[in-house]
Amino acid sequence: MSRSESSWRFAPLWGALALLGLAFVSLSLGRLGIDPGEVLAVSLRRLAGDFTEAPSRAEIVLWNVRLPRVLAAVSVGAALSAAGAAYQGLFHNPLAAPDVLGVSAGASLGAMLGLFFSLPVAAVQGLAFAGGLSAVAVVQAIAALVRQRDPALVLVLAGVAVSSLCGATISLIKLLADPYTQLPTMTYWMLGSLGAVTLHDLTVTMPALVAGVVVMTLLRWRLTVLSFGDEDARAVGLDVAWLRGVFIAAATLVTAAAVSISGVIGWIGLVIPHVARLVAGPDFSRLLPVALLLGGAFLLVVDTLARSVMDIEIPLGILTAVVGAPFFLFLLARGERGW
């Protein structure tokens, strides 16, 4: 590494400040024109706890529409990116994404069931969260039963199998769903959107997100060792199986929580960790904060485009790939650092 340790210590701080600036810009953008001065005035008045005036339309838009979306975009993006970084280290596999163990497929199956039975939105979110956790629990159970092989490989293969089972069931549900009322909602869920996110959704999912990220932060050094290989980790006295289980639990928790409010958003969990690695190198204690910040910033930019470019919303799953792929290829062509 050419950079000194001291410059790295403050990097997350600068990154966080940049993200805050980006959030302010995002708050000022949208289908309704609200000038940045008013954004600032409303923010300051709210932060000072002044709720005396009846809220203006601009205030409602800022507080009830844009703020939840900005917060959701940052937290969902950060969560997916951090989970992807953890999985890639955990499985020594650059193609690992948060859904490698079936969490997205399980969450989708839960959500599709909820939509098929026309359950309330909160129940759909709950089923998505539970479905994501259950799918990974099943994968873990299978891996625990199959002991004689490389455990990381068994996990990934079991994840592939469980994902395709969930995928098949989802296809069946879509066949039986009402093509005019249920099917479009299902399709949009699978493409991801933050359009319906409320502050309440955020308060419900935030504990799971924060808990997962805290666990990853506390164990960041151990993951660095683990990413060098199981043998090396055992040599320095780490309980590899236990550590892997804890990381999978943490990454699954954040991914399931994120997906339950956003629907499936591809690309971020796979590629942002690579971008983060280009910036920060393979050391997970540096990689994690960079991945969190980059993931949050990336989804914030993408979601701002999704809600403000056209009259209609552009599904996030489409935009993440369209915006992300060229950017990633550009970095790949320029970067010299390997991983």
Partner: protein
């Protein structure tokens, strides 16, 4: 068409009957024995049996239309039906299976399963464009079953009913339904013509549990709004399809009235500050469309929308269309859905209207 049609042996009596039927039928269609050539809405000349007894509906709109015109010919539904929907259909129709669909949103019926039901005819109702025409040609070539497309735009419903009556061997019934449909549309046109343009509302069609899916102004799924002389706020280019929109965009559009398809949406917006800033919500002008036995505004876009159009006229123009809708509902269910509504069932059906 070639001899591949002759997959099913016909007995002599049936042939004779068919021949007599063919002779008795008037109209422009050219006849050749027990078969005749008809022209569909896409201008395709298709040879069909003069006597049609088994009809495969290619999509949900066709299911409804065939059920309305000739329920005994319908082989199955192209859309899943709930228990509450079945309760408002004839017992025979309520027992019919889900057969999947060949057109519309993601096809689900395999050609083999279509052939296995031994249809005399495949009928599609809906938009007529190159995609659907080529699909019809292809399915007809592969299965040897005549495949007809009839335009399903709402204002063409009378013609659609008459055409189906002719094809399905119920010309009298087709004509009768066609006249009734024309009367409903004429009544609406006459009433709307009296309403000055500045009193016509701007309407948002809310779909999905969050209400953040809509149908653009050019979409067949939203044409009821324009038929009623109102403006669909979701006018964008390209103007077809059912996209997602943001609540901020809806605030920008500022609709006077919201027509909703999902009860979860109507329940959710009561406590939502952002939605309450929309004029329609503030003024209590959010209306949940009834959905039995088929959606009254859309879902599917078929004959069912005739009744929905009259209902929607009542909520958009309360002064002009203030008369009691119940006699019309009872009459429509009797004529079109073959179901007599007793006061109790009629009451339950309309509860969903007055509840909001």
């Amino acid at each position: 068409m070639d001899e591949r049609f002759e997959y099913r042996p016909m007995n002599g009596r049936l042939l004779a009957l068919a021949a007599i039927g063919a002779l008795l039928l008037g109209g422009l269609a050219a006849r050749d024995g027990d078969r005749r050539v008809v022209t569909d809405s896409a201008g395709r000349h298709v040879e069909i049996p003069a006597r049609v007894e088994r009809v495969f509906a290619a999509g949900a709109p066709a299911s409804v239309a065939v059920y309305v015109v000739a329920p005994e010919t319908l082989l199955g539904w192209a859309l899943p039906l709930s228990e509450s929907q079945r309760a408002y259909l004839t017992p025979q129709a309520a027992d019919l299976q889900l057969r999947g669909r060949l057109t519309g949103r993601s096809n689900t019926a395999s050609l083999e399963s279509v052939i296995a039901t031994r249809p005399d005819l495949i009928v599609d109702v809906g938009e007529v464009d190159d995609t659907y025409v080529s699909l019809a040609d292809q399915v007809q070539r592969q299965t040897g079953i005549p495949y007809l497309i009839v335009a399903g735009r709402l204002d063409r419903t009378p013609q659609m009913l008459a055409t189906l009556g002719d094809w399905l061997g119920r010309p009298e019934r087709g004509r009768e339904l066609s006249e009734r449909a024309e009367a409903i549309l004429a009544d609406l046109r006459a009433g709307i013509a009296e309403i000055s343009p500045d009193r016509r509302p701007r309407v948002y069609l809310a779909r999905g549990p969050s209400g953040l899916e809509t149908s653009l102004s050019g979409s067949i799924n939203a044409e009821l709004i324009e038929l009623l002389g109102a403006t669909n706020v979701a006018e964008t280019t390209p103007a077809t399809g059912n996209p997602q929109v943001s609540i901020e965009q809806i605030l920008h559009w500022s609709p006077d009235v919201i027509l909703a398809l999902d009860p979860r949406f109507v329940a959710a917006i009561r406590d939502d500050a952002a939605w309450r800033s929309v004029p329609a919500v503030r003024n209590g002008r959010v209306y949940l469309a009834p959905e039995l036995p088929f959606g009254w505004i859309d879902a599917p876009p078929s004959v069912n929308r005739l009744l929905g159009a009259r209902w929607a006229a009542g909520v958009l123009y309360r002064d002009r269309f203030s008369d009691d809708i119940r006699p019309l509902v009872r009459d429509f269910f009797s004529r079109f859905y073959h179901v007599e509504l007793d006061p109790e069932r009629l009451g339950r059906l309309l509860d969903s209207i007055h509840g909001h």
